[in-house]
Symmetry: D4
Subunit: 254 residues, 8 copies
């Protein structure tokens, strides 16, 4: 056997084993941005089986670009401990903390994998699995299949709880609204993100982090978008706290 | 001042200060893939001022996708110590080591930033600065300007040494060949990557890691591409060792 | 330091200082067409702090192309004094005035900058900042980020009053209608531009130049579009008068 | 375990086993058009291990559309026995045979799989594996990765002999010419397809079916294109005979 | 006459005769995926005149890619006899059967043509023909005309019964809903596919296989999509049984 | 003066004179397909001033391609005299007449110009001019401005009566519905074209040829689309008769 | 049979008969612009069998748009008789003649069809048929197949003489240069159009109208482009005379 | 006549008169960036007839965006007087001058029009007019025609001298090199821009401002690109001086 064949075999076998091992998990997360990664870490740390699926080739979502491509993020005091837990360096500035957005993304990913979460990229969640009135997992496909416009059927992953962490696009909630039934919101529908009000949004994003349909939790920007709260602007404290809260809420039920 | 204004101010001031502080560095690196990140770490660790520029929103280059989107990489024994230095978990398998490609990317980025390198995203190196026969820095632009097809002039960064780490595209070497002069290759031109021969390629990538034009070093896949060596396949040992070697060679001259 | 580094430093520092100085203004204007530029001039002339944001690389909006790319504009007698104040040459013709559309654009821009307004290009207003029931500023991003389809968070600018001057696209009003609340129109919604009736439209555009939501004024073609008046055709008198009126109305409240 | 999980597991395990079993084959074929499929059948029938890779989602290549989307093909007397062996119905017409192009494609695929060849779709051959002067296999990637413009490394398949059957595009030969060395043609390069001369082309396509570089055979339209013979037009006899001949030539050496 | 002219003549005459012979059929089928092909076979086997139109160059629809491009399909015990009738090899696995998705497609097409159905590719059904309250045929065009964005009028095919087998896109039913009248569904409209529940979906797809408007039957995934049942996932038993059932129902009326 | 300058001058002066002469006409027609051209001929023949505007570079609309790119049209007996009047050759076939679609287009254009109508290409009708409750002309722009996505203001043409002859797209009626007011249809809105029923459609297209809003007539396929009648298929008799009728109706009022 | 079926049958049968009748002609012309149409007319008038193929849906080529979309053409005195023969109205102006470009196109097409030439649209000439050293016909495909990027084989048409009349693109000559052999030009290759010199170009276009390869004549702008003469500008006299000359030269040999 | 008709008439007549008046000028300039505008001003100021053609809707070229979208430009001491002559405000900074890039563009345009130059937008120079060995003018087309991909012939403008001021694209020189003959450069060809060296480039751009082919001068970035000098970076002094020099050189010959 040539060296290349040995390498190829190793890659396919390891990756396939990891994917097959994740067909049946405690928690499945859609979206690899900050809140999804934080939820993954805190859940996996408690020995829960966690699989996270990101549509893009790279994880990290909207945090890479800081604000307007200025690669810095700002975090409030309350969320500073989370930065510390992930080893993200920060600098105090008038009661808030600034950090390098690129470093922050890298360490959120590293923290989640070190805790034992399984992260998958290039995979989109195109639908959910449903039994009577509970969501039981995700319907997955390669995101490249979608980009290429090919007609190829999806596969599935089964989970005790699912988390919507796709941010503004609300990819899972939109499917649920269209194909499953009423969401746990005032109107039973996606309320839609409101204009920017950083202070109010930061507070509400934690409040709105909850079960939005039996079996499906919502976290991060998706939480405010589905419950009709304002958008947050380039401040990430609420996002981090929301990721932690969704983990705690689900841990309490597992 | 509203909260949002405070946040905006913090982000612009911190990021601009970091960028202005990088206008004049010891080493400028084009390309945020594995070899560029490794070079950045080993140079910065020795207190050299390092700035790395990546065209995409996310760093990590071709390592995110493992092989054919199976998110695993393989590394040979010789490069295992580098994995360890970055804290990347690996698994022994018939004398080689496999690792999760997503974790690997994240920890390469984290390692480089922790060592003190400055990493910038969304910026492309569109040309070099030249004085007589030495390259003295990069000519930069937002990569979004290029995508949008706008006609906007670039700015510059000055460096004692530059590193071409853009992989297959050879973005810097192509400019040098077209606009500056003869490269330090057998024909004076880019020789072009050869077909795959993993074993030979892995050995040659380290040999080919050298100064390709006064002031410009080449590392990683770019090294084999410019010197006409075979491509490597989804094994990353040579890539990692090449990143370390380019750092050592430049350190010896600084 | 090389010459290029000096130049780069000068450009970044000057531009950043100008932008930071504009984070907190009296009036923020969305859209760099004729009415926005005229409003900018008359406000800045009275020593108000004004920042104008244009999505395109060039300012001037729909005036560059005259009518059907015939580069001439027509202005009625009532608006002739505004042409004069900006130094735009014109020619009498049956009681109206014709001018070179390219000259007109250039002098509107020159007039606004000479009056002290700060003009920014390549920046789009993607949302507004809100506090209870008042709009307090714009949420900004590079328009190239949008064109490139990147997921990058915006930054913000704070203003005592905001002006919607984006013309037909009504970029700000559409956001307000969707994410904030009822507009000050008969139906509470955008009424939509009606078919062409130059005479009526010219009269109405000045009438419709008013506050459309607390903190947000509307001017130029946007005024007729939001209040359901006819479109104007390639005559610019009403546009110019509307730009002047919005400035006067806001000056009265500052 | 939910039903869907059982199905997902079955699909991944079966497919992965089939792919891993094909990492090391007697013959690897690039291109799933008529000549590749016929070669696959005659090789597999003799108990050779054969893997065929097609870039598109569907196999069959240029035969689906007959001529100008009139879904009929024409085959000469000499190739009639091959139609029979695959069970393709045909109709005599002035010494030639016409068949339904859609039926023909389906039965070529069915024949190859029934003989035991492994057919893979959505996979492109982007390079070859080389050892000194022999081609030892293909470098593969998902074709959707290429369409999506992602930077993802390939994997490999090892083969005693490789067949270029990609037709006009000559995807493998172009790589060999650029990255490996001289082809076994008069000029050492791809000679390029000549204009149409059906009679001559039909004769030459069988003659040109041979080893074009150590380890690499060429068949079908690719044979004429690489050796500078005329193109054939919508007649498929030579194509079928060429597919059979390449199988026989390789069988003689295995 | 040159050889090429003879070939050209043969192709045009044979294909045109086949098309003209199909202008007036017992059953016209829109969509060349599994359920359409199976319906075609069982109808043609009973000597009914059948014409099937597929928009793509290749027939087979969503079955080529198995699940997530893993080229395997799964079929339940009840549908195993259909696999057998088409000669598709399968493997038992925990009470279900797996098959190679590429082989399966090829043999479904081969089976339909062997039974005497006429299959046409590159043709889209853009509308229906209507007389009072019955659908009497399809309005056809080259799908390349649509892709090229040309304004070219369609032609028509007349049929006693029509079958909608276009799957998720519901191309025929959408036209009927918009341009003809109420469908035979609870709301009179397309109910829309629900989220995945393989077991329930498999049962319902057979139930939902029925006449949805006078003269128009629905089969396969289209049946569940129009009647608001769940989607099936990468299991094809129900699809196959639905194709058989629609044939039987129509045969009962012919 | 060089020859080229003389030619350039001639072209601009002649064309501009023709356009200026058409700013003020009896009848303005939107759309250069068969019914528009026929209306133009019969109106111009009676010495009415007629200007017709076509968005494409070429006139002729959907008639060029016959049916499915088979370049033949069919016309019923009643419309045969119109073919004759334009000098279009035809062939009797079972009580209908076939003609070459390319010849037919050319002669419709030639007939309209010979009668004195002014035809303009590359110009789109993007809006109407309105006074109280009557449409008084078209708002025009170069269609290339629209394709290029430029923001350039339109110009106008004034007419006693306007004709909508844009076929399926209903470009004028859609603007009127959105921006002007109620149409003269059962619902006051565009009813939308129904599925194909050639016989009924042919009869109705003449009936539906009438004033749809004060000052605006509708003819050809647009007539059936706006009044909710079936589409016609590749038969052109009704189209031709509709073009003649709209001319007669308007002549009666001029 | 429904009416629609009768119409469909008529269209397919008439068109197919016309196409089959043209498989074997005296002269085949590539390109439906002015010189191709004129050649078609003068050849067909002498009872030669002529088939002309145009890639676009509409014939007329570059004449529709006059100069810079000003729809007027200019013709010199020498070519005035040709305008007359086609019945194109013109106006004297300083020794030259102006005509409406739209009328001119229509009447050139009408003239060619009236003379008996068969004109086909939506068909591109993608190659030639060759026997030893003579071109014997064209290799044709639907141009929509090319636009749609489908892989579909072409068909052919046989001709005693072929004419390249595709203008600037030189579609046939480029194929001949690449795939057949040396052209009858000074360098044996396409010389390339030179910059504009109307007077010289007008004279040369007639001189350059000749056989460029055995069996292939060149006419119109293509003649100057292949022989390296200047381009003509928006004057059409030489074009018309060239079309007439190519007809006369071929007539002399038939 | 309606108001709109009066406006339309005024716009067309004024613009057409201006264009016709420019068919025959002293100097024609291709490109509306800084050096073209400056040349236009200094030529027109001396009562020369000047026409400038810009491909885009807006003039100003690469100056709008400053450097990397930071809207500031830098100018050296030697060019400061030019800023003053145009009334562009500037600020001293370490021996150089910074200015607002948006203001600078506007005032360059205003200065050129005030001097009497005629500026045209949306027009591209696609070729030159040639007589023996002298360039005598430009071949023009709407740039929207090019963007729309339409085949429409150009018109022309005659000039005693022409200026290439299109910057990096060298639109005129590329045509001359390909279609006319040898340029006045060391190799007779375009030498190509070299990498950045601001100091050297600034000096050379003035030296390279000269006649590059009889009748054609080159200025601005185009001068360095054609003569193989380095690029300049975001400093505009040389650009401004080059524009002034080309005017002076041509004035000396008029």
């Amino acid at each position: 056997m040539l060296d290349e064949t040995k390498i190829t075999k190793a890659i396919i076998e390891e990756s396939t084993a990891r994917f097959l091992d994740s067909l049946h998990v405690d928690v499945a997360i859609a979206g690899g941005g900050p809140s999804g990664l934080i939820a993954a870490k805190y859940l996996a740390e408690q020995n829960k089986k966690v699989a996270l699926f990101e549509r893009k080739l790279s994880l990290g979502g909207g945090m890479w670009g800081g604000g307007m491509m200025y690669p810095t993020i700002v975090v409030q005091e309350e969320a500073k401990p989370i930065l510390n837990e992930f080893g993200i360096k920060s600098k105090e500035r008038e009661g808030q903390y600034t950090a390098d957005s690129i470093e922050a993304v890298a360490k959120l990913i590293a923290g989640a994998t070190d805790a034992g979460a399984k992260l998958f990229n290039c995979i989109s969640v195109e639908d959910v699995m449903i039994r009577e009135n509970k969501i039981n997992g995700f319907v997955l496909n390669w995101s490249t299949v979608d980009i290429a416009g090919l007609h190829v059927d999806p596969l599935t992953i089964e989970a005790k709880y699912c988390i919507e962490a796709t941010g503004h696009p609300l990819e899972v909630c939109k499917v649920v609204q269209r194909k499953v039934g009423k969401l746990n919101t005032p109107t039973g529908k996606i309320e839609g993100e409101k204009s920017m009000w950083a202070g109010k949004a930061e507070r509400l994003v934690v409040e709105n982090t909850k079960e939005v349909y039996p079996g499906l939790y919502v976290t991060g920007m998706a939480a405010n978008a589905v419950f009709g709260a304002p958008r947050m602007g380039p401040i990430f404290g609420g996002m981090l706290l929301s990721g932690k809260k969704v983990a705690e809420d689900i841990l309490a039920r597992l």
